[in-house]
């Protein structure tokens, strides 16, 4: 495909990888808040997830309802192999671009 990933898309995909089976709107938002120190709206998370789904990088399945959600079912997101590949490519590029720069920043 050759599509590049935006910065926020990378963060969301990384969150999916970290969360594994437990990735849905609330947990993705929580993960971004905790690890990336970003306060994002659910609407933004969903917009990005929908875009990733349209690009064929993630897949969805309908989960179980819980009382905490007023009996509503979750929509789980999982990263598919194409998504892993795109993420790996992007991160590899980043790593190549940043290698050796630590010395410069620490100085």
């Amino acid at each position: 495909m050759g599509s590049t990933l935006g910065e926020f898309e990378q963060l969301v995909l990384l969150a999916l990888v970290r969360l594994g089976d437990d990735a849905y709107g609330v947990t993705v938002r929580r993960e971004l808040e905790k690890r990336a120190a970003r306060s994002v709206s659910l609407a933004t998370v969903y917009t990005t997830l929908a875009r990733l789904e349209a690009k064929g990088l993630v897949d969805t399945r309908v989960g179980e309802p819980t009382p905490q959600r007023g009996g509503r079912r979750k929509k789980h997101y999982v990263i598919v192999p194409a998504g892993r590949r795109a993420l790996r490519d992007t991160l590899r590029t980043l790593r190549r671009m940043t290698s050796g720069l630590d010395a410069v920043w620490d100085a």
């Binding site: 849905y24 929580r30 709206s41 659910l42 309802p65 905490q68 007023g70 509503r72 079912r73 979750k74």
Partner: protein, 887 residues
């Protein structure tokens, strides 16, 4: 507090979310928001902020137009762009509105009235309250005032001004302004002009320069410097045909040659003196008697240095003031200077009234929106089966919601356009009817700001009036309403009833405001002005020119003029005075009482000075309560005498007889002692609602200088207006080169003094009547809708033996119930809100029970009238027809 009920996400937001979220995502999204609400946001931020967060999320979902995979959600699933959808919605909306022209016209007119009135009022308020004054960095321009012993602001003396100008470190430039009325004689007929004598830095303070020629130089602002003048654009065009070569040429003003050195731009607005037509340097001679430290007759204005704020400038000037008081303890009544931003100074007198009008028109707009909401609800109830079918055919809730909002926004847009036209027409009328003393009246225009305001108001009105009906339809389980064939619409009737109650309440608030203002005006017009305004003609006569350089010549002219006027057939009496009650002028002097010396003479009382001819009091019919009046025998050289008013007598000689007491006027230590010979009735000088003030009448011939402008008052036997030209000719028969201005009957002068109040009342009355009509229409709409819906019930009642009276009562009870609820809520609101206009009231309290009772009665009567037709229709309902129609 929270242990009983645990906080929940806002229900309205959730309902909205369910409408706007795409169907495929709805469950997950709503569930996620709910889970995050309880698990993450509520514990971290508390109930209030969590609810706010929920609202924000909802709005974000609504506006983001998420690029979800739409699936079956949209009717048009062929990937139409949102622009195409919008166009389709618009086309459909136009068709729907055209199909019901009566409904559409009513809604559009209602919105047009609301939006038009709001826009017109905004365009009047904008230049006064919101738009920046037409000077660079206008917020840094401050007026500077001395303080009086009661803390009020007073004019500045020249010596004090000079000290401020020299010693302050906060102001880039500071200028003094003195009044200047003079007569131009170099061209055609003599004309009296309004000017200002200003310090040379005046235009630097404002940050404006002449468009032709130049502004003043420092060396021109000296007692013996050659006289120069800068003209306003208006004067330049009117008197000199806009001659571009006028700069450098001479003009004659008050008999003296002046050189025109500059002309201001057309766009220049002199907000510190709106009627000013020209400016000349102050050329203040500090050696003259009126340059004393206590002679406060100048205004001052300064511009803050870039790095200085008003607070620190105030502190610095207070320090200067303290130094001055140490140096001249007998020359200052109180410490400190007042620094007032120009805009505040300019609008202070009218601001409360303007804000009250804006509040009133906002209420009207809300009522109009509520009315349209009610109309749309009724319409939506009629269309329920249409929506049910559309949804059954696959239209998403979001799609229906959008369609309905498109319709209401379209209504508002047409209403807004009509309203804008209405505002434009109304504005012309407002400016024409508006009192001439409103600040920046000429700056009122319909410009881009007003247009932007109208557009925002229109959009808000469209959404506000359309949202509730749209949510009703989109939320309601419409599938079941197909089964019910769209007959029972309990929910929307309840909402409409609530709207009517709200409209009634708001209308009551407006009516109470109007009633209070009306009663105030009534009280005000009942105030005795102290003079008899009937058959009284007034005009100002000013002398100028070389032959009136000395006081004897001035006095001889006025004596001759008065004699000529008295000889006119039809003139009963005539007199002269240095100022006219309610005439907009003001002149007062310190009065120092013999044997009652104050340590600081600045704390002695001051009284309004009327330098008058014999017969002035008699002409005005100001009664002499004790002692004697002033006569022709009180001439120059005769013992100095004066007459004071009752308030002054009570104020200074409580329980004692002032007649025979002696006072000095002006300087405490020099000048003649005037003996009090009489006590006259009080006169309202500044305004009818002003507090009684100390006043004194001094024979003009005995005053230490001759006023060069006096007001001539003439008591006529017939219509005073018809005598004007005869009186003018009589004055001109003495000297035809002298200027006569401000010709008006005393009744006109009196009316002009209440012009603002009458204007304010007129606006309130207009808004209140429209509000009342809208509330009545709303009540009528709800009741007739309800009667139509309950036709079956009413039919059964009639069939079971209910009389027409019973059914009539049934409907009327419903209407009266709505009105009573509206009156109760409105009274509570009015009690809270009427305090906001307390400052505009006179002789009546903001909670005046009579006004409240009268207004409640009016509202109830209107509600009853609105019930009449639906009740009559219900009572005439044929039970057979009603029951059959229902099957």
């Amino acid at each position: 507090m929270s242990d009983g009920r645990r906080p929940r996400p806002p229900a309205l937001a959730r309902r909205l979310l369910e409408c706007v979220a795409p169907r495929a995502m709805r469950e997950a999204l709503v569930g996620d928001l709910e889970e995050a609400f309880y698990a993450d946001v509520l514990p971290a931020r508390g109930a209030m902020r969590a609810r706010a967060w929920y609202w924000r999320e909802t709005i974000r979902v609504a506006v983001m137009r998420l690029p979800f995979v739409e699936g079956e959600d949209d009717v048009v699933s062929t990937g139409d762009s949102s622009m195409q959808l919008l166009a389709a919605d618009l086309r459909f909306a136009v068709r729907m509105l055209a199909r019901r022209p009566g409904f559409s016209l009513l809604a559009i007119l209602t919105l047009a009235v609301g939006i038009g009135a709001t826009t017109a009022i905004f365009s009047v308020l904008d230049p006064m309250l919101f738009r920046a004054l037409p000077y660079p960095d206008a917020g840094r321009i401050l007026t500077v005032w001395e303080r009086d012993h009661d803390g009020s602001e007073s004019n500045v003396g020249f010596a004090t001004f000079t000290d401020i100008a020299r010693d302050n470190k906060s102001l880039v430039a500071v200028a003094a302004i003195g009044s200047w009325q003079t007569v131009m004689t170099s061209t055609a007929e003599p004309e009296r002009l309004e000017g200002e004598r200003v310090s040379y830095g005046y235009f630097d303070v404002l940050g404006v320069q002449p468009v032709l020629g130049r502004a003043f130089r420092a060396d021109e602002d000296a007692p013996n410097a050659p006289r120069v003048v800068v003209l306003s654009d208006g004067l330049w065009r009117r008197r000199f045909g806009g001659d571009p070569s006028l700069v450098g040429k001479p003009v004659t003003l008050g008999g003296n040659p002046y050189t025109v050195i500059g002309v201001m731009a057309k766009s220049f607005e002199n907000v510190l003196g709106p009627r000013t037509q020209m400016w000349t340097p102050l050329r203040y001679d500090a050696s003259l008697a009126w340059a004393c430290r206590t002679c406060r007759h100048l205004r001052a204005v300064g511009r803050l240095k870039p790095a200085v704020d008003a607070a620190s400038a105030r502190r610095e000037l207070d320090q200067l003031s303290a130094n001055l008081i140490r140096a001249y303890p007998n020359d200052y009544p109180a410490s400190g200077f007042a620094l007032v931003p120009v805009r505040d100074w300019m609008t202070r007198a009218v601001r409360p009234a303007l804000l009250a009008v804006f509040g009133a028109v906002a209420l009207l707009l809300v009522i109009a929106c509520a009315n349209v909401t009610s109309l749309l609800l009724a319409r939506a109830a009629q269309r329920e089966s249409e929506f049910a079918v559309r949804i059954a055919l696959g239209a998403g809730h979001r799609r229906v919601l959008r369609q309905l909002l498109t319709e209401s926004v379209l209504l508002a847009a047409v209403g807004g356009a009509a309203g804008f036209a209405l505002a434009y027409a109304g504005l012309v009328l407002l400016v024409r009817l508006g009192p001439a003393d409103l600040p920046r009246l000429d700056a009122i225009t319909v410009d881009a700001r007003v247009l932007a305001f109208a557009i925002v108001v229109t959009a808000l009105a469209g959404i506000a009036s359309g949202l509730a009906p749209a949510l009703h339809v989109a939320r309601g389980d419409l599938q079941s309403s197909i089964r019910r064939a769209g007959h029972r619409t309990g929910g929307s009737t309840r909402t409409r009833s609530m709207l009517v109650v709200g409209e009634m309440a708001l209308a009551l608030v407006l009516l109470v405001g109007t009633g209070l203002l009306l009663r105030s005006l009534g009280r005000l017009l009942g105030v005795n002005p102290g003079v008899d305004p009937n058959h009284l003609l007034t005009m100002e006569v000013q002398v100028s020119g070389a032959k009136y350089r000395n006081d004897t010549a001035v006095r001889a002219f006025f004596d001759d003029a008065l004699r000529a006027v008295r000889a006119i057939p039809g003139v009963d009496r005539a007199g002269l005075a240095s100022q006219l009650p309610l005439g907009g002028n003001f002149d007062s002097y310190g009065v120092h009482i013999e044997l009652k010396p104050n340590a600081n003479p600045e704390l002695d009382p001051s009284a309004m000075r009327y330098a008058v001819s014999a017969d002035y009091l008699e002409t005005m019919r100001i009664p002499v309560k004790r002692g004697r009046s002033l006569t022709a025998q009180d001439a120059a050289g005769a013992p100095e005498v004066l007459v004071i008013n009752e308030t002054f007598a009570r104020h200074m000689w409580p329980g004692d007889d002032p007649i025979g007491k002696r006072v000095r006027v002006g300087a405490p230590d020099k000048g003649a002692w005037f003996t009090i010979v009489g006590i006259a009735g009080d006169v309202q000088h500044v305004s009818l609602d002003a507090a009684r003030a100390d006043q004194m009448y001094i024979p003009e011939a005995q005053w230490r200088f001759a006023d060069d402008a006096l007001t001539l008052v003439v008591r006529t036997r017939g219509d005073p207006a018809e005598m004007a030209s005869a009186v003018r000719s009589a004055v001109w028969s003495v000297d035809k080169d002298q200027a006569i201005t401000s010709v008006a009957t005393m009744e006109k002068v009196l009316a002009a003094s209440t012009a603002r109040r009458r204007f304010l009342l007129m606006l309130f009355e207009l808004f209140a009547v429209v509000a009342l009509a809208l509330a009545a229409a709303g009540t009528y709409g709800v009741l007739s809708g309800s009667v139509a819906q309950r036709a079956r019930e009413i039919g059964i009642r009639a069939a079971l033996g209910a009389t027409r009276g019973d059914i009539l009562r049934l409907v009327v009870r419903q209407g009266v119930g709505l009105a009573v609820a509206g009156i109760a809520i409105g009274t509570a609101a009015a009690l809270a809100l009427s305090r906001a206009i307390a400052g505009l009231l006179f002789g009546v309290t903001a909670t005046d029970p009579l006004t409240f009772a009268a207004v409640a009665t009016i509202l109830l009567a209107v509600a009853l009238a609105a019930c009449a037709v639906p009740a009559w229709r219900a009572a005439r309902l044929d039970p057979v027809v009603a029951l059959r129609s229902e099957t």
